[in-house]
């Protein structure tokens, strides 16, 4: 079941995938809003997020803590806590299937098999009292009904694919016997076991050392190419996103604020927040003790309905009266480069 395009999308609300025309849309998130009830009112975690992702592309979702990037990925997999409220108009369409309309039983067939996820902490993603082998073959037996001997063989292959030496020995080991980088390789092997079409990696290297991080990112890139996977990388690290993704989506206070191909976001950011974020990173070739650019204040936390206006306005250098009065829509400036701003930075 595939669909060429998503009917009923209003162009001013959805961020069309850059490079439109290359590959069909595999995943389309439309008007997604997520709230969590709290004693202080409903906490707005995501507001009006629309994003399309084409097959075989890698999208990096970047943002600071609380920007909603992990809530977005968990919404796609329907892994939100049961108390979470999803906006009634929201749709998450994966290869023609409306994921929000699926029962949990139906989701079980998608999750792990067609959409897989790699989490930040490989230690908590693995069961400490079960061997690597038994965890690795579980998905194969469950989703693909493989007989155990075949699943074991496939497990060996998978460990080899993710660059683990002496896989026979590893299959009988427990997670604590492996290093952090090795554990993350096992988690990745589990994620690709059923050859998913979409792999969501949520901060997959944040807990790892820098040389191990580089190895894991290379591994993910290689697997993406070899299996022609579509990938979403969630990260707070702009450096990781720059070297990894085809496209970047920047999140701020629960909203998508900028979306373009990687080159455009880094070279010609239009939304002042994205530009400020880029300016505030220390770089290896800056002068020592150089004063870093800072963004004053902090992102707003919204309970209930958000007041009108841009959420970044209070911290923005380019703020004008309109920024406080009206919420900017997400709109394309140059083709393929969308942003949410009344007074975007100009680039020739």
């Amino acid at each position: 079941m595939t669909r060429e395009s998503q009917p009923g999308l209003r162009s001013d609300r959805s961020m069309a995938a850059p490079d439109a025309g290359h590959g069909e849309v595999l995943l389309s998130v439309q008007n997604l809003g997520v709230r969590f009830p709290t004693p202080r009112g409903d906490l707005q975690a995501l507001d009006d997020v629309s994003i399309d992702l084409r097959r075989s592309r890698t999208l990096a979702i970047v943002g600071e803590s609380g920007s909603g990037k992990s809530v977005l990925s968990r919404s796609i997999l329907r892994l939100l806590p049961s108390k979470a409220l999803v906006s009634p108009t929201a749709r998450i369409v994966f290869d023609g299937i409306d994921l929000l309309a699926q029962s949990q039983a139906q989701m079980q067939k998608v999750r792990g098999r067609r959409i897989a996820m790699v989490f930040q902490d490989p230690m908590t993603a693995l069961n400490p009292v079960r061997t690597i082998g038994s965890q690795l073959v579980e998905g194969l037996r469950l989703h693909l009904n493989m007989p155990s001997a075949a699943a074991y063989q496939r497990g060996l292959e998978l460990l080899q694919q993710v660059g683990i030496n002496s896989p026979e020995r590893r299959l009988s080991q427990y997670p604590h016997e492996l290093s952090g980088g090795m554990r993350q390789r096992v988690v990745i092997a589990m994620a690709i076991a059923c050859q998913p079409e979409l792999l969501i990696a949520d901060e997959p290297t944040t807990a790892l050392d820098v040389t191990v991080q580089a190895e894991i990112l290379e591994l993910l890139q290689r697997l993406q190419r070899e299996h022609d996977m579509t990938m979403i990388l969630i990260t707070h690290d702009l450096g990781v996103a720059a070297g990894f993704a085809d496209e970047i989506a920047v999140m701020y206070a629960g909203q998508l604020v900028e979306r373009a191909v990687t080159q455009d976001v880094f070279k010609t950011p239009r939304m002042p927040y994205a530009a400020a974020l880029l300016r505030s990173i220390p770089r290896l070739h800056d002068a020592p003790h150089a004063e870093l650019f800072t963004i004053g204040g902090r992102p707003p936390t919204t309970y209930g309905d958000a007041p009108a206006g841009c959420r970044y306005a209070a911290r923005c250098e380019r703020r004008v009266a309109r920024c406080d009065a009206e919420t900017p829509p997400i709109a394309e400036g140059p083709p393929g480069h969308a942003f949410r701003c009344w007074r975007p930075l100009e680039w020739q």
């Binding site: 803590s65 996103a241 070297g243 505030s280 220390p282 290896l284 020592p288 003790h289 800072t294």
Partner: protein, 356 residues
């Protein structure tokens, strides 16, 4: 104080702290011992920031903890302003201990959630018997202003009312209240978001400038280190493998491990050349160290000699010292600003052996 102070200033003017052959060993039950720090020596001058970098398990936090007297050093000595800490009595050590202050990675868990900011900052004064209701108040205010917080509005609030960056600034203010000579910062910005990290780094650089504060700055993030450090020491498996001026170490690394670390740093520029120096295998366990050079099992330039001789720190020019038999010659590594990750050519040069 009874111990005779060594006149270190006569030898090296401005020397604040000298760590000599520091060893930190942890008992692992039974007769097993793990040597986390194995003979580490360095100096920190007044007003200087030395960054200690390396990956998990290299011993950098153990060095910090030993310096803070939080982990017992099993060997070596630490001299503060010429005074050997190993020879001090407990009461003298307590006096001295005030001169080192530490800030930790997680700013929220390092502040007592049940205390107001005012009490959090008064605590070090009370512990040291220096608290005086009248005189301490302005001192607390001053410390808060130094880290860029508005004292009047934050004094009576609780930690949960602040963001991570603000909590880290409160931690820094608490560390400053006893007027330390050395601030030990253990990954102080790793838990912070990009925009907040910049604020805290600016505060630290500002304190260095205004107060002439010396710092031992522990971090795994080389771009952060570049911003704060005057000198850099790179650690691997309990030893320093390269130490020198930040500029020299980070631009023209002499040790293959330093070069590999630098080449793995993600650069926030999609056009940056990404040529990584690949390390073989994984870091060996400190319980079963390789013979000879500890890095040889992963080193792309290892030679037979590396398996037999344990390299000591030798002069590598440019005010750098490196523990490697075949270091990169400084002239062969021209690091252009646009290609910070380019792999330096492997050109071994004959190092001049000097006394360690």
């Amino acid at each position: 104080m009874k111990t005779a102070p060594v006149a270190l200033d006569a030898v090296a003017p401005g020397l604040l702290i000298r760590v000599e052959n520091l060893q930190v060993t942890y008992a692992l039950g039974g007769t097993q011992r793990m040597r986390a720090v194995d003979g580490v020596s360095f100096d920190i001058a007044r007003g200087e920031t030395l960054a200690l970098v390396g990956e998990s398990g290299c011993g950098k936090s153990s060095v910090a903890r030993a310096l803070m007297q939080l982990a017992p050093a099993s060997g070596g000595d630490i001299h503060l302003e010429g005074q050997s800490l190993a020879r001090l009595k407990r009461s003298q050590l307590k006096q001295m201990r005030r001169r080192f202050q530490m800030i930790f990675q997680d700013p929220i868990s390092s502040l007592n959630p049940k205390r107001r900011v005012r009490d959090i900052l008064a605590a070090p004064l009370k512990v040291n018997g220096l608290y005086d209701k009248q005189k301490s108040e302005p001192r607390i205010r001053e410390a808060l202003e130094l880290v860029g917080l508005d004292a009047a509005s934050v004094m009576d609030r609780y930690p949960h009312e602040f963001s991570g960056g603000q909590c880290q600034r409160i931690s820094i203010a608490r560390a400053l209240i006893l007027d330390p000579a050395l601030l030990v910062c253990d990954e102080p910005v790793s838990a912070l978001d990009v925009s907040v990290r910049a604020q805290v780094l600016n505060v630290l650089n500002d304190l260095r400038r205004r107060l002439g504060l010396a710092m031992l700055f522990i971090s795994h993030d080389l771009a952060v280190v570049r911003n704060v450090a005057d000198r850099v020491a790179v650690m691997y498996l309990g030893r320093i493998v390269e130490i020198g001026e930040a500029d020299a170490v980070l631009r023209t690394p002499a040790h293959p491990y330093t070069a590999a670390l630098l080449s793995a740093v993600p650069v926030a520029d999609p056009d940056a050349a990404r040529e990584r120096i690949r390390l073989k295998g994984e870091m060996p366990s400190p319980m079963s160290l390789p013979s000879g050079c500890r890095f040889r099992t992963r080193c792309p330039a290892a030679q037979p000699r590396c398996a037999s001789d344990d390299p000591v720190l030798i002069d590598a020019g440019d005010d750098c010292r490196v523990a490697c038999h075949f270091p990169f010659s400084v002239t062969s590594t021209v690091a252009a600003p646009r290609t910070p990750t380019a792999a330096p050519a492997f050109v071994p040069h004959t190092p001049q052996e000097t006394a360690p």
